[in-house]
Structure formats: structure tokens, C-alpha cells
């Protein structure tokens, strides 16, 4: 191996630039590594949610009618409001990242707080949605509703007969709670991470003030969480009527 | 095929087995060839080019596209050829002919329930006629199982909630293993049985007879089955032991008890000893026997008592068809002539009660069933 080991000493003199970690040569390499790392992590999240989307697709394909009737109990208005709220929170997140690039600490903290506020609004609306389902016994498990008419009203009746298989409706709600629940867990994790980021900015920590990439990484995560919702909303709330 | 009594291949007893074995042995030949090439090559190079040996190391090769393509394309082609044969075999396995005779199978933890088209039912045993295509339609009552007949080279998963199918044409009479081949819980390995391939005439007779052998089992024989199933023989042997007294010849004899009293062992006593064993404890023993109250039906008790009355005497051998899965482990029995299966199974054994029902003189020591298929 003809390696020449006489390169000038890079790695040891950056005490002033303490945002740089010891394993990296320069801040550019560090930033690129963090960004690539976050994208790779997001690809694992795609596979994570992807399996659930696959299961959903399969069952909806097989039980189109039952899924359609089951979905009518969902509140489209609340879902649409949630979508708008999350989209807006992505906007505030973008503004936070831009402020970080411009090193405007006050703006960063403000925009991040607005992002958290939107996330909390999202969760509160979700709480109301879930409560309504629980009240009507539309949560999956042993306690699932057995009376189709009571649960879905006249949507469930066709030509005088009950037209929905309650087992398949339960399948729909298993997926609904499973997927929106997993999404909500990611929202909560996002709130915690953004909270930690706010705290770092508040304390003027060098790790976030000297370089904007940590903020951008959190932004990437938040956009991903938003994107998952953009898929969930039409799939669950905006079903076309099957033939 | 066996090698010094070690079987090297399962019996080939179906139409699929013959085509299967061709593909299998082709793959074996291919594998042996390439294994030898790699092993011999690696060892040869390791020796010839060992550090310090005089060998021509000039002009070493690091890349050679033609060589790479050769050993890419040739394995690819060989692989695709095997894929073709394997697929052809697979399509045949998955495509039952139109005129199959249908039999239905339900798998459940932990037994197989077969039902013939005319209503005849059997458990863990499948009687089929020789030479006719049979299609099994199967479903599970609980968890996943799989129905596997190695001698026929067929297997198919048995799934709850949907029907699956399997077909074959048996080409040799005899008895062959059925295994459950999808892990299904505690007694997965005891969920086996056998396929009994019969001459079409015998099969027709068997079917018409409601699936029974012509002589129904006597009460003593039924009792013997229950006795074995409940493992009474774990404690009650031919001689008195520490655990339990022998039951041989106790009927109508006086029994002395631990508290000094005694009774003649009549039917009532025998029944009571099973369901209330501590009412009269035999002298020399304690309260060791389990209480079988409410574990045995009255019908079973009648059969058990009938058996105990004759236990140890020549007329008490259990029949060998429908070997009970829960009895003590012995090799599945087989008889010499297939035609005797339906009619003579019971007689063959009661004729020679002292013969161990699982071995014939001169038969190979192991592989009763496998060898049976071969000895036709």
C-alpha cells in the first residue's frame, strides 16, 4: 500500500470552531454527513410507514365497499383543518431554517414555537376525533361496534339490508388508528425534538448558532412527518365511492 | 434405496414422484460437480501456489472479461435450465386433472380429519385407491398446518379461512407417512398419520363398508386402545412395581387393601378403582394413582373394564390399524400383503399375539414403512 502519510495536520486546531466534531476534517464535510444521514434515516421511515400503506392498499382493494362505508364516520372537516395546520407548520419550519441561516436567533425561536403550536393544535383536533370514535365504539378490538346501523347510520343500509361487514369495518379502523396513531407518535417526537432545539437556541448553544445544519435536519424530519399526513388524509378521509 | 440399512431416499409412490426424482437427482449431479470443482480447485491452488513453492507466477491475471463472462453465463444457463425443469414439475404439481376423486381434509390442533366424498370419515389415516388421481381440498380450523406426504413428494399449506388443494395419483400400494409440516404448537410433531394405498377393489369395499374393517373392534380391543391412550401402562406393568400393582389376572381374585380389608375384584371394583382409586388402596401402596373421575366417559369405562378383565391373556392385543398417536412410541406397523389391510388386519395380529406387531422376521431393522414401500 503506497500511502504517503505526510499530509498537513488538519484535525486538531479547531478549538474556536467547536461546532466541528473531531472525526470530520472541516465543517463542510460535517454538514454534508449530517444531511446525508438524515435523508438515509428518512428512507427508513418511508419503509416503516410503507409497510402499513401496503397493508392498507391490499385490504382496501379487497373490501372497497366496506371501507367506503366505514370511512364515512370520519370527520372530513377536522381532517382538512389538520392538513392545513400541518402544512402551515411546515411553512413556519422553513422560515425557522432560513432564520437560522441568517443567524436571527429571535426569529428562529419564534418560528419554532409557532411550529410547536401548530403541532399541538393538530394533536388536540386528533383528540376530538379519537374521542368521537371511542364514543361510537369504533375502536378496534374486542369492544368494536356490532350494530352497523347504530355506528354508520343510513349509509350502512342498502336496499333494506345492512351493507357493511362489521369485521371489515373493524379492519379499517385498526388501520386508521394504527397509522394515524403511529403518525401522532412521530408528531409528539417532533414536538420534543423541536423543543430541545428551541432550548439550545435559547441558551445560545454553539452547536446550533454557529451552523444552521442541525436546525435544517430537524426541519427535514418535520417535513417528512407532514408528508406522511398528506398521504394519510386522502387515503382515509377522501375515498371515492366504489361502483 | 438404502445403504447398509440406512435409507437414502424416500419411497417413490406417486406419479409426481418419478418426475420429481429426475429433477432432484439432476440437481444433485450438478451440485456434486460444482462442489468438486470448487473443492478440488481451492485445494489444488493452495498446494501448488503455496508460499515458497516453485511455480510459474509470472504474468498474473487480475482481470479477464471473457473468463468472467464464461463463469457468469454458464451458471446462469444451467440455473435457467434447472428453473425450467423445476417449474414444469411445479406446474404439474399445482394442476390437478379434471377427473380427480375428491377428498376433504380438515387440519386442527393436533390431528387430521379426512372426509371422503360419500361421507366416510377417518382421522389421521387416509385410504386411497391405487392408480386414480385424488384431489385433497383442505382447510384449517385454527392455525396454519401443512399436509405432507414425502413418499408422494407433495405438500401444501393448510390455512384457516381459505381452501387449499393438493393432488396425486398413487402408484404403489402400501402405507406411507403423513406429516404435519407447518409448526402449529405443542403437539406439532405428533400430528402425523398414514396414507393407505389400496387396490381399487379393496378400496371400493372399504368405502362401501363405511370405512370400517369388516370386523368391528371388540370391547376388549377398544378398551386396550383407551388403556394405552391414557398411559395406564406407565405404572401398571406385567409385574408389581413400586408405583402400582400389576393388573394381570386380577379379575375375580381377592384384593387385599392397605387398611386390612379385602374384596373380590369384580366389574364394580374395577370401575371404582379408576374413578375413585383411594376408596380401596391396595396393600403396599399409597395415594399415588391419579383420580380419573370425570375424565373418562361411562362408555370408555365399560371398555376399559372389559379389557382389564382379560389383560395379559392372549385375546387382548390391540389392533394395529388406526395406531393411536398418544400410545407408547413404536414404529408404525405394516403387514405383508396390501390386500389384507382392510379385512385381515385384526386377525393377522390376534393370530400371533406374541409377535411384536411392528417387525417381520428378515425385515430391515429400521425403516419399516420406507422399506415396505421398496419391497414391492
Amino acid at each position: 500500500m503506497s500511502a504517503i502519510t505526510n499530509s498537513p495536520d488538519h484535525g486538531h486546531g479547531h478549538g474556536h470552531d467547536s461546532a466541528l466534531h473531531h472525526q470530520f476534517e472541516d465543517i463542510g464535510q460535517q454538514n454534508e454527513s449530517y444531511i446525508v444521514g438524515m435523508w438515509v434515516f428518512l428512507s427508513t421511515e418511508v419503509m416503516f410507514f410503507g409497510a402499513l400503506f401496503f397493508i392498507y392498499t391490499l385490504y382496501r382493494w379487497n373490501y372497497q365497499q366496506d371501507f367506503y362505508i366505514a370511512h364515512e364516520h370520519l370527520n372530513v372537516i377536522m381532517g382538512a383543518v389538520n392538513t392545513t395546520v400541518l402544512l402551515f407548520s411546515s411553512f413556519t419550519m422553513v422560515m425557522a431554517v432560513q432564520s437560522a441561516q441568517l443567524k436571527k436567533r429571535g426569529h428562529v425561536i419564534g418560528y419554532l414555537l409557532m411550529t410547536i403550536a401548530c403541532a399541538c393544535v393538530f394533536l388536540i383536533i386528533k383528540y376530538f376525533e379519537y374521542s368521537s370514535k371511542l364514543a361510537d365504539h369504533l375502536y378496534p378490538g374486542a369492544g368494536f361496534a356490532t350494530d352497523a346501523q347504530a355506528a354508520f347510520g343510513e349509509h350502512a343500509i342498502e336496499a333494506g339490508k345492512v351493507a357493511v361487514n362489521m369485521n371489515h369495518a373493524q379492519l379499517f379502523y385498526s388501520l386508521y388508528f394504527g397509522m394515524t396513531g403511529l403518525h401522532a407518535v412521530h408528531i409528539i417526537a417532533g414536538i420534543l425534538v423541536i423543543g430541545a432545539l428551541i432550548r439550545l437556541w435559547f441558551n445560545n448553544a454553539k452547536s446550533v448558532t454557529l451552523d444552521f445544519v442541525p436546525t435544517e435536519m430537524v426541519g427535514l424530519y418535520w417535513h417528512f412527518v407532514d408528508l406522511v399526513w398528506i398521504f394519510l388524509f386522502p387515503l382515509f378521509y377522501l375515498m371515492p365511492k366504489p361502483h | 434405496m438404502s445403504f447398509f440399512n440406512f435409507p437414502l431416499a424416500p419411497p417413490s409412490a406417486s406419479n409426481i414422484a418419478q418426475q420429481y426424482d429426475f429433477v432432484f437427482y439432476a440437481l444433485v449431479a450438478l451440485s456434486v460437480f460444482f462442489t468438486l470443482v470448487v473443492c478440488a480447485g481451492a485445494i489444488f491452488f493452495a498446494v501448488r501456489y503455496k508460499a515458497g513453492t516453485k511455480a510459474d507466477r509470472s504474468r498474473p491475471m487480475y482481470e479477464n472479461l471473457p473468463l468472467e463472462m464464461t463463469w457468469t453465463i454458464i451458471p446462469l444457463i444451467l440455473g435457467l435450465i434447472m428453473f425450467y425443469f423445476g417449474t414444469a414439475l411445479f406446474v404439474k404439481i399445482k394442476t390437478p386433472p379434471k377427473d380427480c376423486e375428491e377428498i376433504y381434509v380438515i387440519g386442527k390442533q393436533w390431528m387430521w380429519h379426512m372426509q371422503h366424498a360419500n361421507g366416510v370419515r377417518e382421522n389421521n389415516t387416509l385410504h386411497v385407491p391405487l392408480g386414480r388421481p385424488i384431489k385433497l381440498t383442505m382447510i384449517s380450523q385454527d392455525v396454519l398446518h401443512a399436509f405432507y406426504i414425502p413418499a408422494f413428494r407433495v405438500q401444501m399449506g393448510v390455512v384457516p379461512g381459505r381452501y387449499t388443494q393438493l393432488w396425486f395419483t398413487a402408484t404403489q400400494t402400501g402405507e406411507y407417512h403423513i406429516f404435519c409440516n407447518m409448526y402449529c404448537g405443542t403437539q406439532h410433531s405428533e400430528m402425523g398419520g398414514k396414507v393407505v394405498v389400496m387396490d381399487p377393489k379393496d378400496y371400493a369395499a372399504w368405502l362401501a363398508n363405511g370405512g370400517q374393517s369388516t370386523t368391528p373392534m371388540s370391547m376388549e380391543q377398544t378398551g386396550a386402545k383407551i388403556y394405552a391412550k391414557m398411559h395406564c401402562d406407565n405404572c401398571h406393568g406385567a409385574e408389581d412395581t413400586l408405583h402400582a400393582p400389576s393388573l394381570y389376572g386380577i379379575y375375580r381374585k381377592r384384593r387385599v387393601f392397605a387398611d386390612g380389608t379385602s374384596l373380590i375384584a369384580d366389574d364394580e371394583y374395577l370401575r371404582d378403582s379408576i374413578v375413585k382409586p383411594y376408596d380401596h388402596i391396595t396393600a403396599g401402596y399409597g395415594q399415588t394413582m391419579p383420580v380419573y373421575q370425570s375424565q373418562v366417559s361411562e362408555e370408555d369405562l365399560l371398555n376399559l373394564v372389559a379389557y382389564i378383565k382379560v389383560i395379559g391373556s392372549p385375546s387382548a392385543n390391540p389392533p394395529t390399524s388406526n395406531v393411536n398417536r398418544h400410545s407408547a412410541p413404536t414404529a408404525v406397523s405394516s403387514t405383508n400383503e396390501a390386500t389384507s389391510l382392510a379385512a385381515n388386519a385384526v386377525q393377522a395380529n390376534t393370530a400371533d399375539p406374541d409377535a411384536t406387531p411392528t417387525r417381520r422376521v428378515g425385515a430391515p431393522a429400521v425403516g419399516a414403512i420406507a422399506a415396505e414401500g421398496r419391497n414391492r
Binding site: 388501520l175 | 440406512f6 424416500p10 507466477r57 463463469w71 428453473f83 411445479f90 387449499t164
Partner: protein, 576 residues
Amino acid sequence: MSSTVISPGELKPKPPAEEPNYLNVNHTISSWLLTGDHKRIALLYLVSTSFFFFLGSIAAGLIRYELTSPAGVVLESDTYNKVFTSHGVIMVFTFLVVAIPAIFGNFLVPLMIGARDLAFPRLNLASWYMYMTGGTLILAGMVFGGVDTGWTFYTPYSSMYSNTQVSMVIIGIFIAGFSTITTGINFVVTIHKMRAPGMTWFRLPLFIWAMYATSLMMILATPVVAITLMLVVYERTFKLPIFSPELGGDPVLFQHLFWFYSHPAVYIMILPAFAVVSELIANFSRKRIFGYHFVAFSSLAIAGLGFLVWGHHMFVSSQSMYESIVFSLISFLVAVPSAIKIFNWMATMYKGNVHLQSPMIYAIAFLMIFTVGGLTGLFLGAAGTDVHLTATYFVVAHFHYVMVGGTMLAFLGALHYWWPKMTGRMFSDGIARVNAVIVFVGFNLTFFPQFIVGWLGMPRRYHYYYFAPEFQAYHIMSTLGASVLGLGFILPAFYLTQSLFTGKKASANPWGAHGLEWETSSPPPTSNFLETPIVMDEVYDFDPVSEHARDLRNLQEAEEWKKAHDGMDNLPEEDN
């Protein structure tokens, strides 16, 4: 005149101060448990994976012991079922998937590419803690009742029928899965972004190529099995209908999702083994790997195609015939890159200078055993032959040939090869070579009879086989072989551990190998290199003719030294 009395003992020369290296730089417990140093983390993984391997081996020993008799020996069926499940779960999820990447990948990836550490050292440490948490939960599940579903957790048995510690063990697997994912993220970013100047992609050691392909699979496949197993837990806890047929669910859907991960998982287990074998064969033949580009791209091909073959585990599951045919075709395609590697490795030995030290013995044994394992995969990839062989001992033999005969042999080869680098000590190569032969012989004695008994029809996961006693002879043969194999696995624990105390101190490059990891001291300093290396050529730039000349010189010197010292065996180290 004053004189100071000095006792003779004080005149002893002080031993030279030991160079600071990653092992001796700090001895406190927290410096190990809170380390960011990839090399220390690799050692943490070595100790913990060895522990899990030991537990999995005990389970294996129990299985083999129990199978010597058709009616069992000491276990009830429920217990036996729990024992084989724990063998599978522990070996797959806490050893095979983890061992070579987490130990040798962690240790060597930065060294081989000339970096100071991985891209995310703290994430690396977190990865180890996730592994320990997951592994502990799995063991807790085993202790508090065990699991009896098989490591494949098929529904509806696992989701609705089994009343064992399924949920606890699955949560343990879920957490350990995140350890795999974070390791994969770390490797991908490190290999992309932190190569030393001059280290282009095609100058990388093939170890790195294979680790890269492995990481891609870890990242993309593991989340799927994580969510699938969690769904089983949800189904058990909340009685959901996702896999329950009575309520409209599909039990075979679980199998699709499970094998979508678990087939790439087996390539995750074998690609690092390929990585190791490439290094061993090149370095111990003192020759560039033949067909470098082909070997590098074949790793990527295996990773890609490996995602498309999962259905070959499901030919008799009620999957449609057409699906099965497609999966069978692609399975034959994925066999080709492995064949390419085998031929390339053999061609590397041609006109090389083969040094038959213990790592090379393991590598040659790998070639032979993996070939058998791979070829027997063809029997299973052809749907027609698979119908008879699936779920029998033929499958068990096949996967043990590739997993134990493949991954485990490569693991042992790697352990011996990089031991001096990691610990700074040399072990006795004579014992190690004998041990390699013991492993080879024991392995074949154990698993070859299983091909036969599987072909005869013996199903797997069977506790009793009393209605087929013709199988017994093969089981007894297999168990005898397992005793020999067990010996081969235990001995290294002793002679390697002993070398830590009494072994000769290793030089930077005791094997005469090429690679950046051999350009730094043994053990390396914490920051790996005193100065960042600059790379000018491909790593395997041996010249066989001059290597041969050097070998002749070494042999001659060895002869002369032996003559001068009356044939004593304590040869000084070769000139490398």
C-alpha cells in the same frame, strides 16, 4: 566522599513506555461505557455478541441432545418448542445479523477508508445500547416463560393462539432492529463522506463494498419487519383483525411482510462474510483480488435482487402459482453473483503466494462449505423440488451450511485475522489451524446427515419422530458431529483469551497484508492515524513475483535459524 547505596534491584532498566493506544488510553468503566471510539464499541459488541452466541449454542446443544431419541430424552414438547424458538431468535437477531458488521465493520470501516472515526460516534454508542436493551428483553422473555412460535412468528399461531411471552420478545427484537438500522445509517454516511484523500470508490477494499451493500439492506428491510412484528403485538394486545381470518384478515399477509425483510436479512448475514473472505483470500494469497469490479458489483447485485425473492419461502403457503414462478426465476438469478464471487476468489489464489495460516484455512473452508450451501439453495429455489423439501431438515441443513459454514467460519477467520490488530497480541497459529480443521470436520458431520434425513421427509421443528424411527441414525450422527463442532467453537475462547495475557506483542502488520488498517500500530491509537493518510493506489497492490522472492528469503532464514537453534519452534517474526 559520600556514596549512596543503591540496591541491585533499582538498577533494572525501565521497560519502554507503552505507546498510547485506544485500549490503554483510559481504564475507567465509564470510558468504556460512554465511549465514542468505534474501536471500543466494536469490542463491546464482541463481548456481548459472544455472550448471546454462547446462549444460542446451549439451546442448539439441547436440541441435538433431544433429537437423539425418537421419543425425546429430557424435555416436554412445550419446552422443546421454546428451546428451538430461542435458538432461532437468539442466533438470528442477536448474533448473525449483528456480529460481523457491528464488530468488524465498526472496527475496520474507518480504518480501511482512512478516517478517524465513523460519521456519528454517539449514534454508534446508542446503537450498542439499543442492542443490549433489545437483547436483554429477548432474554427476559425467554426466562419469564419463553416463546414457542418459532423465530418466524407465523400468524395466527403467534397472534392469537400462543400463550407465551411473544410480546416481550418481539419488543426486544424491535429495539434490537433499531440498532441495526442506526449502524447501517452510520456506515452509509461514513463510506460516502469520509474516505481519505485519494481513496476513490474503486480503490476501496472489497470489505467496504460489501459492508456498504449490507448497510443498504439493513436500512431498507429492517423497518418492515419492525412494523410487522409490532402489528403482531398489537393484534395480541388489542385483538385486532389484521391477520385473523375469521375477521377478514389474511394470515399469509404476515408471511409476505415477514419474508420481505427476512430474505434480505439472510443476505445481511452473508455479505459481511463475503467481505471478510475477500480480504482473507487477497491478503493470504498476496495477490490482488481477481476481477475486482465484478466482485464489488456482485455485492450490490445481491443486495438489489435480494429484495425481490422473498416469495421462495412461500411456495406452499397458498401463494398463487404465477407468483411462485416469478419468485423462483429471480431466485435463480440471485444465485449467479455468489457464483461469480466464488470463481473470482479461486482465481485470486491462482499464481498467488498462498500462506496457509489460520485465517486462510477458515477462508478455504468457507469456499467449500458455502458452495454446498449455495448449491442446495437451488433445490429450494426451484419451486417443483421445493414442494417436497420445504420445512424439512433439508432446509435446516441448507441454511446452517450458509449461516454457520458461511457466516460463522468467516467470523472466526475475521476474529483470528484482525485479533492482533484489535488487541495488540498474537495467538498461537498452530492451535488455531488445528481448531479450523476441527470446525470444518465437526460442521460437516453435524449438518450433512440433515440433508439426507430432510430428503427422506423428516419435518423441521419436530420434537418427536417416533412414527419414523428410520430417521434416528442420522440424528445420532448429527449430534455426534455437533459435539465436535462445539469443541471447535469453545477452543478459540480459551487460546484467544490466553493470548491477551501471554501472547507475543503484535507488530503493525504481523500477516504481511495490505490495507490502511495495517499501516497503523497494533492496537491503533484512538484517532486511528497519527496523520491523515493519502491514498495513491488500489489497496491490493501485491506483486506476486517479488512476494515469491520474499517468501523464499523468509523460508531460507527460517531454515537457518532452526539449524542454529537446534530446530526450536519459536521462530522470530517474518520480514513483512
